[in-house]
């Protein structure tokens, strides 16, 4: 538990740093930082249940995608700004580095092992995000119809 809390705090610090680097608007910083922390929490919990890297990253990225969509609707800003930051703690930086290092240093075993990790994590994140945007694609038209009605009403109806 202590281990997890330390990691959680570290993820918050890291995600906050990246949110500033990516030029996130100051008033969205807190939400983006928290999203990074929660995404990592989902990853951590699923990782306890299954040793499969693909599944744990898929679940976490799916969460990040859905949460980013909700935040995007609330704040009226593109969802990608939140989802890109949400998955920052999942990015397989270490595996990518050891993989390329193995390739260049001629360590074939290291390369093979780490490229498998990088690929599975990368695919898991991408699949999670795609899966979430598919779900959103189903929900969105319903929300859209409502908001359009509201906007037409606000404009006093469109004389046609």
């Amino acid at each position: 538990m202590i281990d997890f809390l330390i990691l959680f705090a570290a993820v918050l610090v890291g995600t906050f740093g990246f949110a500033v680097i990516f030029g996130m608007k100051p008033k969205y910083l807190a939400a983006a930082t928290l999203l990074g922390g929660l995404t990592y929490t989902v990853y951590y919990l699923v990782d306890l249940l299954t040793p499969d890297l693909f599944l744990s990253n898929l679940a976490a990225a799916f969460f990040a995608g859905i949460a980013a969509f909700i935040l995007a609707v609330v704040y009226r800003t593109p969802a990608v700004t939140f989802s890109a930051l949400g998955v920052i703690p999942l990015v397989p930086g270490g595996a990518l580095y050891y993989m390329m290092y193995g390739l260049i240093a001629g360590d074939t075993d290291l390369f093979r092992q780490q490229s498998g990790v990088a690929l599975r994590v990368g695919l898991g994140i991408a699949a999670g995000i795609v899966f979430s945007s598919t779900v959103i694609g189903v929900i969105r038209p319903l929300l859209h119809r409502k908001s359009r009605k509201k906007e037409d009403a606000a404009a006093g109806g469109e004389p046609k």
């Binding site: 890291g14 740093g17 593109p78 990608v80 930086g93 240093a105």
Partner: protein, 265 residues
């Protein structure tokens, strides 16, 4: 239909050339601020049809946008934009998105949009010193995920700070791969130095934390999403680019290892 609804509002000002130029300005800035390909294509489609275009075609990849539009009176325009650099600049992306929405809902004219785009180009929410401190946070915080302790994390934060500072000082020569090699070389050497002076414990963990600042994680993720979402060409290009960037990073570190004469790992 959207087109039917909006035509009468903009009669007399829907010049095909100016309309497409403005739509492309909005779309190009979207792409340069880290927007996705499908967002870029949709932006042009929606703006054009909101301003009375009868037919719009768009094709975008990360380095280029091609679009053509045909108006009701038969006037036609076809334009190409080459995009040289793109970066994650989310506050600017949000602002461009706002302009695009305002155009589509008829709350902004094309002339107003031109002014708004010129203003949006200059949006930088944070001063340089904050970016430097944020780099330290990013490198230090994420190094924990790769097994670093507090001492190594602080070293990673210091290295991240210095390398971002270095990146600001190096004049941009246009070759992003060379820049990556230089930066990762600096990370390799600096991490090794922190261990040599006795501050850090494990150079490998410091390096992995600090290179999170360089690793093209977000663009790799976006490319995978493009690929799985059906944008095969832009997805493939993005993945090739990410792999080359990762290879540049590894190469820089490899040279650093050779120079410092010790196993960095």
């Amino acid at each position: 239909m959207e087109t039917e609804k909006n035509t009468h509002r903009f009669e007399g000002e829907s010049d095909a050339d100016f309309l497409l130029r403005t739509a492309l300005d909005v779309a190009a800035l979207t792409l340069r601020s880290g927007g996705e390909i499908h967002r870029v294509e949709e932006t042009i489609q929606r703006i054009c049809s909101a301003f009375g275009a009868e037919h719009t075609e768009v094709f975008a990849i990360h380095s280029q946008i091609i679009a053509s539009v045909r108006m009701r009176d038969g006037s036609y325009s076809s334009q190409v934009r080459r995009i040289y650099e793109s970066d994650n600049r989310f506050a600017r992306l949000g602002e461009v998105n706002r302009i695009s929405r305002a155009l589509c809902f008829g709350k902004m004219t094309l002339e107003e949009a031109q002014e708004a785009i010129a203003r949006a180009k200059g949006i930088t929410p944070y001063p340089v010193w904050m970016i430097l401190l944020a780099s330290a946070c990013g490198a230090g915080g994420l190094s924990f995920l790769f097994g670093a302790g507090i001492r190594d994390a602080l070293c990673a934060a210091l290295v991240g700070f210095l390398v971002t500072l270095l990146g600001r000082l190096i004049p941009k020569n246009g070759n992003v791969f060379l820049e990556m090699v230089l930066r990762s070389f600096a990370i390799g050497v600096l991490s090794r130095v922190t261990v040599l002076v006795g501050a850090g414990l494990d150079a490998g963990k410091i390096i992995v934390g600090a290179i999170m600042l360089l690793v093209p994680g977000v663009s790799f993720g976006n490319a995978m999403r493009d690929l799985l979402g059906g944008d095969t060409l832009s997805g493939t290009l993005g993945i090739v680019r990410s792999i080359l960037l990762a290879a540049s990073i590894a190469f820089g570190l490899f040279v650093a290892t050779a120079v410092t004469g010790g196993a960095v790992l």
